[in-house]
């Protein structure tokens, strides 16, 4: 066990954890922030996507010992009032069905727009290929990202 100071959603949080504990379980179990979801534990589904220094990472596969003082952003910290352009577009297109994968989809999409404010359809498809949705909301996800990119 070791003590870690995490920079998460603009705050510093101190946790005691084993060094190989994935960031996902630190966030969910130790910090009790439940917006980030567990789906596969192997970086195969994207449900646990968060930002590390503005870049999308799969928190199930990032060990806490490797985070250092990197800036972590979770769905709870993406915007003050759920009004990030991506979130607004998600509501406008009524993207979610069950909703479980959507935190990860939104975080991945927001990271895409961080690096490419005007993605083409091909850019979106390539960037979102790591995020699974079993309900099948892919078409609306694509449309919502297009809408959000126009509003930036």
């Amino acid at each position: 066990m070791a003590s870690y100071k995490l920079n998460i959603n603009g705050e510093t949080k101190e946790v005691e954890a084993v060094e190989d504990m994935p960031l996902l379980w630190v966030i969910r179990d130790l910090l009790d922030m439940k917006g980030t979801k567990f789906g596969c534990g192997q970086s195969l589904c994207g449900a646990c996507t968060v930002h590390l220094n503005g870049v999308a990472v799969r928190s199930c596969s990032v060990q806490i010992s490797s985070v250092g003082d990197g800036e972590i952003t979770t769905i709870e910290g993406l915007s003050e009032n759920g009004d990030h352009p991506i979130q607004k577009a998600w509501v406008e297109h009524i993207v979610p069905q069950c909703g479980y994968c959507q935190s990860g989809q939104i975080m991945n999409a927001a990271a895409l727009l961080n690096s490419n404010a005007s993605p083409s359809e091909d850019d979106i498809v390539a960037a979102m290929a790591g995020n699974l949705c079993r309900c099948g909301t892919y078409n609306r996800i694509k449309e919502a990202i297009m809408t959000a990119s126009k509003s930036l």
């Binding site: 939104i106 290929a129 909301t137 078409n139």
Partner: protein, 761 residues
């Protein structure tokens, strides 16, 4: 005990009666919603001295308080269909409430109180459309009566809109909240006097209403199964029987207990074999302070197993044997005319076989449940359950307590598709909480989910079709074999049940003079269950792929062929041709929900028109067609393929025409079809579960693949037929016709017929 298989029982009237009981109505003399009122005691909850909030609750689904808050109860589980929005939407429309201010709360599992809560079989809207309207109408009637009395006018001059009672003549208005306290001593109205709104006056039904939870989901606040946190809660991860029916000989927990955070190791007694649908599997649980510790503890656990009777089970071998068996005579399930005679006089015979694999549900939320068994033996559960009443009963049975001592709170479900009907994981949480003497969340990993699912059965089918010299289709002989859902509960269930045969097999609608439909024996060697559209998945694939070949053999366009073979517009029944069984019609009487060929032909013509079938085919577009009725909803489907610049096949367009009767939430109907085509794309092209030595060979999304955005159909067009016929469901019906439509399009693409799922596009 035979499993509670939802589509087998006539649940509709029976289950409604729990809440809308005629006998109780007569007894209480105040309304069809009396039972609801009874349970809430016609609930006027004066929570304090005069001036404090008063609540008017004319039935279990609606409450209105003097602060003008209208709260509607969603009693069916939300797993992505939008039902948590759609049923309240119906009530609110009939009530005349202001939708933007409605609050929705989720009911706990209590079927005595709320009626049927078993959320599967695409029947929520079918079963509850009318009860929800009655619930809303009763409240509206009472609010109007109170306002009319206050104003000294006749109730017929008043109506409700946007949460107010409005007088047509003088323009007076009173909010629902202002009327709540006036309804304090009002009896429920005579049900005969509660009249539903004229269809033309409905404002929410038939429109796009955004799901209630969309903001919470988009901001990460929505609460799913694993998101509930309780003080002192422990986390459990279970090492389950590697082969269904295996038992623990011994285990060594020394290394597991040495993992930091691990507190306890507990054996779970399994149900043996057959495993049952609502029991925990044999296993050893590691209970820890956090999920990661539990996972690491399980890795360190050493268990010696007696692998039991399925240790040599090989699904590929069974499938080959099943396919071989279809060459022989099976158990006849439906017979019309004499297929043998048709065969002897045929000028052409087509004989084709179709195979489909086991499928896993693979909800992105793996099973997880929280239980808190208290010192007095009572238990409170939080679970993403499709069937909370079943979970309640299964937990009570496992703990040996009365059902009244188990409370099941229903969270949102991160996908269901039939998996989360089964309460095995909820039972695990309860058993482990009892052992830990603390609240426990049992957390399944993805590997657990894929290894220990209730799988959709693999299947083999053989269809023989005969044509005479004029090209008429004279005979249809369909053989089907797949391990039955019932085999999960009983080794004697060797044939598919009537319920399973009624899912797209014996309800073969085409007007062929000689029909023989047969099933063959197979054994269950794992846990099988129902997956979105159930046996329709493989039956529709075989039948409509075969129809495409028949059309070709007859020199006809597939759509022209289907329209011709459906025959005259009429209601068809199957019961008189059933052999030794019943045609279930999804639990509804066929008189109430007939199989109408005219409605089917209408969706076929509509999808042909919307896809510009004739002109696009003539122009060389690559298109496939199938139409299939399931869960009482008629669906026509056209799939269009293109070659991408990289030579890969792209599903460029999917066209659906759907007749589900009255369309309640048009946006959610479209979303179910958009998602259904994507779900079906996975079944058709990427997914398969196989067993070797009794064990599932796939572990995670690398080997059990579901489609990703690049493989998703690019554009999905959904046309909803306008109708005032009573509504039917849309959760499952998008899946069955898509797979054969895609297979038929692939034939147009490369000239190769498809006989086995999954296939590469």
């Amino acid at each position: 005990m035979l499993p509670n298989i939802p589509f087998l029982k006539n649940k509709n009237r029976e289950d409604q009666s729990k809440v809308f009981s005629p006998s109780r109505r007569d007894f209480l003399k105040f309304g069809s919603l009396a039972t609801g009122g009874l349970f809430l005691g016609i609930s006027f909850q004066c929570s304090g001295p005069k001036g404090e909030t008063v609540t008017f609750a004319p039935n279990v689904y609606i409450s209105i308080n003097s602060d003008n808050e209208v709260t509607l109860v969603a009693h069916r589980s939300e797993m992505g269909t939008g039902i948590r929005t759609t049923l309240p939407q119906i009530m609110a429309d009939e009530l005349g409430a202001d939708w933007s201010k409605i609050k929705i709360i989720q009911a706990e599992g209590d079927e005595e109180k709320y009626g049927n809560q078993n959320t599967d079989g695409s029947f929520s809207v079918r079963m509850f459309y009318e009860p929800m309207r009655k619930a809303g109408a009763t409240a509206r009637h009472m609010l109007i009566a109170a306002a009319a009395a206050d104003w000294g006018v006749d109730a017929s001059e008043c109506d409700t809109e946007n949460g107010m009672v409005v007088h047509a003549g003088n323009g007076k208005k009173l909010s629902f909240g202002d009327l709540a306290s006036k309804l304090k001593d009002a009896p429920l109205p005579d049900p005969e006097r509660v009249v539903l709104k004229d269809f033309s006056k409905l404002k929410l039904i038939g429109t796009d209403v955004a799901i209630y939870d969309v903001n919470d989901i988009a901001s990460g606040k929505a609460v799913f199964g694993a998101d509930v946190n309780l003080p002192n809660m422990k986390i459990a991860v279970v090492k389950r029987t590697p082969v269904i029916g295996a038992t623990v000989i011994s285990y060594n927990d020394e290394k597991a207990l040495a993992v930091p955070g691990v507190e306890q190791v507990v054996k779970i007694e399994g149900s043996g074999f057959p495993p049952g649908l609502d029991k925990a599997l044999e296993g050893v649980a590691v209970i820890a302070t956090n999920t990661w510790a539990a996972i690491k503890g399980r890795e360190a656990l050493e268990v010696e197993w007696d692998l039991g009777e399925n240790q040599n089970y090989n699904s590929g071998q069974q499938l080959a044997e099943m396919l071989e068996s279809t060459k022989g005579k099976g158990k006849v399930r439906r017979e019309r005319g004499d297929f043998d005679t048709a065969g002897r006089s045929a000028s052409k015979t087509l004989e084709r076989t179709y195979e489909a694999p086991f499928y896993a549900h693979a909800t992105i939320e793996p099973p997880a449940a929280i239980a808190d068994v208290k010192e007095d033996g009572s238990c409170e559960v939080w679970a993403p359950s499709q069937h909370p009443q079943w979970a309640r009963g299964a937990v009570a049975a496992a703990l040996g307590v009365e059902i009244a001592n188990v409370k099941v709170n229903v969270t949102l479900l991160g996908g269901g598709f039939g998996r989360k009907s089964k309460p095995d994981f909820v039972v695990e949480a309860a058993l482990l909480s009892k052992a830990a003497k603390a609240p426990v969340r049992v957390q399944w990993t993805r590997e657990d989910d894929l290894h220990f699912d209730f799988f959709h059965s693999h299947s083999a089918q053989r269809i023989n079709a005969t044509l005479d010299s004029s090209g008429a289709l004279t005979g249809w002989n369909h053989h089907t074999v797949f391990p039955a859902i019932g085999a999960t509960g009983s080794k004697e269930e060797l044939h598919p049940s009537d319920g399973e045969m009624g899912l797209g097999c014996v309800d073969f609608p085409f007007d062929v003079p000689n029909i023989r439909i047969e099933s063959h024996e197979s054994t269950g060697n794992t846990r099988v269950g129902w997956l979105r559209s159930v046996s329709n998945i493989h039956h529709a694939f075989a039948i409509h792929a075969m129809m495409d070949e028949i059309a070709e053999a007859r020199g006809k366009d597939p759509i022209e062929n289907a329209l011709e073979l459906l025959g005259e517009d009429r209601d068809i029944t199957f019961q008189s041709e059933m052999v030794g069984g019943e045609y279930g019609n999804y639990g509804e009487k066929i008189e109430d929900y007939p199989w109408n060929t005219g409605r089917m032909k209408n969706v076929i013509r509509t999808v042909a028109e919307k896809s510009n079938w004739t002109a696009n085919k003539a122009a060389g577009k690559i298109m496939g067609f199938a139409a299939h009725k399931s869960f009482l909803t008629y669906v026509g489907c056209v799939v269009v393929l293109e070659k991408g610049s990289d030579g890969k096949t792209i599903i460029s367009d999917v066209y659906y025409a759907v007749d589900c009767g009255i369309a309640v939430n048009t946006d959610r109907i479209r979303s179910q079809f958009e998602g259904g085509s994507q779900f079906a794309t996975s079944l058709a092209t990427t997914s398969a579960i196989t067993f070797e030595k009794g064990q599932v060979q796939q572990n995670n999304f690398d080997t059990y693949q579901i489609i990703r955005m690049p493989a998703s159909p690019k554009t999905i067009h959904v046309h909803i037929i306008e109708s005032q016929i009573k509504p039917t469901g849309v959760g499952e019906p998008p899946v069955p016709p898509f797979i054969p439509a895609l297979a038929n399009a692939m034939y147009q693409m490369n000239g190769q017929r498809i006989y086995k799922l999954p296939f590469t596009i």
